[in-house]
Symmetry: C2
Subunit: 153 residues, 2 copies
């Protein structure tokens, strides 16, 4: 059985994995004037057009500020536009522009490439198990973060 050396930790490996993914995605998306941070927003908008920045933040499990900045960049780059929601004038409805819609096949290709590379030597069972474990671990730790936050109040 492989023993875990004391100075090693899963956190370190996840950090490395995450940074490598950013690196890869950043390079793939550079030609299109966006970076890895905007990618998940654009992907989500492809399938849920017209949602608010708040909803985007919730779905992507990030801060509203992060969402606001990502959408601002995407707007500036010409991929989305915003319309004040007539039913709730505090909120924007974020829509893809033509240019944004046309990115679909590129985004899917980049996403697939990354997946294929990440999991290139994984069996089908491993792929499913891996994804499942990442989600479970994420839920476990973020639940704990949430709990801590609530006790502060």
């Amino acid at each position: 059985m492989e023993k875990l050396r004391k100075h090693e930790s899963i956190g370190r490996d996840i950090s490395h994995l995450f940074r490598s993914i950013r690196n890869f995605m950043g390079r793939q998306l550079e030609p299109y004037g966006i970076s890895d941070a905007q990618f998940p927003f654009l992907m989500l908008l492809l399938y849920e057009d017209g949602i608010s920045q708040e909803k985007l933040a919730t779905s992507l499990k990030c801060d509203r500020a992060t969402s606001a900045r990502a959408i601002a960049k995407l707007e500036y780059a010409g991929y989305v536009y915003r319309v004040i929601d007539p039913d709730n004038r505090r909120a924007y409805k974020v829509f893809l522009t033509e240019q944004g819609i046309e990115m679909e096949h590129i985004l899917l290709a980049v996403s697939k490439d990354m997946n294929d590379i990440l999991l290139e030597d994984f069996t089908e069972e491993e792929k499913l198990a891996f994804r499942n474990m990442i989600q479970r671990a994420g839920t476990n730790i973020s639940k704990r973060n949430q709990t801590r936050k609530n006790t502060d109040e």
Copy 2:
């Protein structure tokens, strides 16, 4: 078989997991005047005292600049000190101070806590498999990053 919705991706889950870990670690370490970014450096120094910033960067798979800044913070916070390597006056040898050495049990406890939380509903087999897969995925993608970089030259 669970189908992957098009706008979802492993990258997104890993991003969420990573950010949740940072959040958790940051809060755990705050009382000691350091944050999650310095943690792996301190951990590594517990077991490889006297190594250079370059070596730290290589071991932790990060940029030298990141290593330099982490060590600068740890030095400022009183956990490490640096001595110019007499055998190679370009490099520092980084050592833990008394205060740094005394952090061992705390760091190990924090590390264990995080592991226990992350993997709380994992079987022993899953724990091993998860770690193994994270490392493999990290190797797969970073190898690709490396390759791309080389072709640019």
